[in-house]
Symmetry: D2
């Protein structure tokens, strides 16, 4: 019998997790919860997801807007095996979930301490097996884990210096700026470095962060000091075999996050999402720090990657459900199942 999944908070992440759950054969959506009758509530209706109000007070507004309300959050929690919490950071439902004895997954906006368990499918799937509570790490942290984990496994990482060049707002968010400025995070490390360590324990990583006026994707510049010298090609070969990492090339006209997103639109995926991490193939360079004349072979690895902040964590949520609900104990099998269902590509 499929695992019964509830979505608490039907916004950017919530609506995407709902759609991804529906694509799987071992889980199903039993209901989604939203507070206000915005266009996203109408979308939930159109998609046919049973709609629940956060609380009784919200029902009149929702019904006036033509939303058919099946009940409230607590009704839904009674039916669900697991709830995906996509509510804003300030909301605190943990006690409620405990009371209803339901498993729960939070998103990366929450702190590690909330669950004590932070999740990335490749890095620590096994840790989540059978657990009640977990946090899927944020889009940026997920992006760093996706490319760093296999390098650390196959080559070994001495340390990482990464700069997160962050999109300032999501495409639909028209309140947030800046319109024309670059804003550095003056705290070093930015929260991303420590966050990576919640899943890749012991990794030496420092991160700096900068906010820029764009809505499409984050972009990371990453410098890795490896434990041994390798060729650029060896690194490319590792990522070619890594799920959820996709190569792009300026030679094909994909010069920026804009063309990456255009490519994703062309695939026909709903919302033009890019669940994979976009790595510029011609931007991957193993550099020699002993001898400048040696090309494409060395201990220093440089690369640039782009992160679709709205969607890269979606497949991790699916795998996390599978681990917590013990639907699958082998991470690679879960990842493959998720990726096949979601139409993930390797190019």
């Amino acid at each position: 019998m499929p695992v019964k999944v509830a979505i608490n908070g039907y916004g950017t992440i919530g609506k995407r997790v709902a759609d991804a759950v529906r694509q799987q054969d071992d889980m199903e959506i039993v209901g989604v919860v939203k507070r206000r009758p915005t266009f996203e509530a109408t979308d939930a209706m159109r998609e046919g997801y049973p709609f629940y109000a956060a609380s009784k007070e919200n029902i009149p507004d929702l019904e006036n807007a033509g939303i058919k309300v099946e009940g409230v959050l607590t009704d839904l929690l009674e039916m669900a095996d697991i709830v995906i919490d996509c509510t804003p950071k300030k909301a605190d439902y943990k006690t409620l979930y405990e009371k209803h004895n339901v498993k729960a997954i939070w998103q990366g906006g929450e702190k590690h301490a909330l669950t004590g368990l932070s999740f990335n499918a490749m890095a620590n799937y096994e840790e989540a097996i059978g657990k009640q509570f977990a946090r899927v790490v944020s889009c940026n942290t997920t992006g760093l884990c996706r490319t760093l984990y296999p390098i650390n496994e196959k080559i070994g990482i001495e340390n990482v210096e990464a700069v997160m060049i962050r999109r300032a707002a999501d495409p639909w968010d028209t309140k947030t700026g800046p319109i024309n400025a670059i804003e550095p995070e003056v705290k070093v490390p930015s929260h991303h470095g420590p966050d990576v360590k919640t899943v890749m324990k012991g990794l030496k990583i420092q991160t700096m962060a900068v906010k820029v006026p764009t809505t499409l994707m984050h972009l990371h510049t990453v410098v890795v000091t490896l434990k041994k010298e390798v060729s650029s090609q060896e690194v490319l070969d590792i990522w070619a075999a890594t799920p959820r990492v996709l190569f792009f090339s300026t030679a094909n006209g994909i010069k920026s996050t804009a063309q990456v997103m255009e490519w994703a639109k062309d695939t026909g995926r709903k919302r033009g999402d890019l669940f994979e991490i976009a790595v510029w193939k011609d931007g991957v360079h193993a550099v020699n720090d002993r001898d400048e004349n040696v090309k494409d072979f060395g201990r220093m690895l440089y690369y640039s990657q782009a992160i679709h902040q709205e969607s890269d964590v979606i497949p991790e949520n699916i795998d996390c459900i599978r681990a917590m609900c013990e639907l699958e104990t082998d991470k690679l099998k879960s990842i493959k199942k998720t990726d096949d269902a979601m139409g993930m590509l390797k190019v």
Copy 2:
């Protein structure tokens, strides 16, 4: 037997027309033509469209990039009944099309004089029946015709003053600015007003245009002096019954072009396209110019609409094919057939 359609120029418009043709049962894609092996060429391959080079010189580059080339443009023209020309403005293929005795449709970047026939499905479908050459008017002109034509038919228009607030570049176009400026068109009327008159002959319309730093949609503010006084509701009722016009409301959180595009993404349409014209329902106001105290009833009509520049002309291309190839003589039947196949919505 389905009409054989060729696409010359597989970019923003070309790729969308191809996909829309494939959704119809009375026409089919026999091939697409592209010059260079960009990521859009790869997309054509993934979609399974027979790929033709513009000329022999382009073949090596394309084949080196892994594109399977079926022939060149002239080969394709031999097979096609009609070619959709989506090449850049500078290209001039008319003589070639004449030589190969193929029908052709150009896009709005071209001048009316090229074909002598400019097309909008609702406004002048009949003019295109059986013709060899036609031009589907530009995205902005299409947007103006969609909302003005039914108002002119049902109420009567004295004159129109419209301002086109134009997105400066398409989402994928990262070369073009401005990044932070507003640029007025100092020519009055801008080219849009005269362009509307190529399909709505005799309409009195003046347009001004301004370029702004955004990539999502154009936005029009429109002021119509009507031939008689009406209520705002009468206008809404007319558009509710008009194909390819969709209402949005700030009450649902759709406050800007960004949320309109988010709504379109949520529909699951490929590329998140919005083929319809987005009209803000709460932005439609019939205003009385004789008496300020009369509300929502008058001779002056004000409204704001947004235009998805990448996709609103796609259904018009389909209808234009149908008219030119005499597949259907009734405009409303063609429009309904196109819209059903493309999943057009009314909300």
Copy 3:
């Protein structure tokens, strides 16, 4: 003896009014008030303006940041003849000003009802003479009055349809978006039309407004139905003789608000301000609505103008002080005095 001016609120407008007052020989700054020790407070110190805290509670923070605090707002009100209120909209000091029997000028963010007197130097200087309270209208309304008033006086206006294409945030404001969207004001008229009528009583004007992602200037497209037919040149001649209206031309490379601002920077004015309204000379068109073949002569006037939202109201504040404090009863003399002192240009 110079009029003693206090500035309550030392931000975008306050700091500019302070500098402009100092340039006059019939008024002086006796103090500026600011709540928090931001970089603008440091700027006030560097400029040598006596610094007052809004209230006692603010003093420790200010002093810790190295600001020399001379006293609090109420101390300053005792010394001042007139206070320029540049505080955020929510603040309400009117009762306090009445209690201290000080004259006061508010800015355009406030409603007309607060003072019952809205001010534009050319349009209604005389109304302000000797008054205790007035409101200088907002940047956009000031811009409309500057160009419409002389046209109405010299030619006569039947009615006006204007679209305000508004910059979404000031250059220093990095919190406010949108980054990539166009947002229409669905209310018609937008508040600008009624606001113009608070100074140009009886003018028939409708306005629509749209917000766009830029920080530099607002831009207006204006359509005026005149009471008689005129040539474009007659209109240009009127504005050539109008204070605080400046011509720009795309022929000189000034194609957008960006180049207008670059021009202003080149003048060497502090902060690169443009106190004048920028009118595109080659964008001014008298159009004939009876006969399309008649060029540059008609009853319909079209033009585009740009508004430097941070500074165009500054000279109006100076004139308003002069009128209220009865330093000058002739508007043209006050305007000339202000403009000479501030280095206003005619080109």
Copy 4:
């Protein structure tokens, strides 16, 4: 007698160098050269700089636009001791300068090989003394040298990893995008690292670069491995004593490049320029790579700095003139003289 300076190319850099030269007492502008009668040509007239056409063919256009033309470039070269070449990259005047036996300074858009001598005032003033040709390095390279040189001198640098987050276009440049994208430079190192080495020979530095949609300033995130452990305060003390490096702090509300530029505007400098490199004081962190518990003391130095691309190289041009023309042999004396004349600040 003052050194006679000609400016070839009166645009973004040229007009600023002209103004800076005029502020010095040991040099003077004998003429500026511009090809077309844009608004910048009018600015040169208003400033009273003798105006020369690039060649005879340009004179009619310039004169028609009301520009008083004193002669052509070759006439000016006869009078000048030194020419500051601020022409676009493609122009090649070296042979002409050699023929006229005039000294010349190029800007950072040119390659090092053109002159064999790249210049930064603090780093290698002495190299330029008496030379005929030199290149002032680009805005980004100048910014890196300003902060790295004193650290290297006083502490010693093992190596540098810097990321240039580049503004995509200047404020006046409305043709160039992107409007909404992040574009990585896939070449590693970007040209900035090697360029720094043309003035700081032997420095170990790698740079990555990314283009973002903003016009105000570049921003660098810099990671320096030092030769010994130091405290954050020691680094701050070094920069406090370094000319042309200015501290800003988020505590004062200066959170991004937008507020840095607002601060510069408030100083009253012409065009709101910031000749200094802006370093976030609270963004400077000495980090310990051996022991995470040690705070603000270590071998790893992290900082963020912003670069006003339009103006930071202007004082270097002045010093370079002084060195090449042997007006001063002591770099610190030249820097002080330049900075006093230009109103440079330390805060």
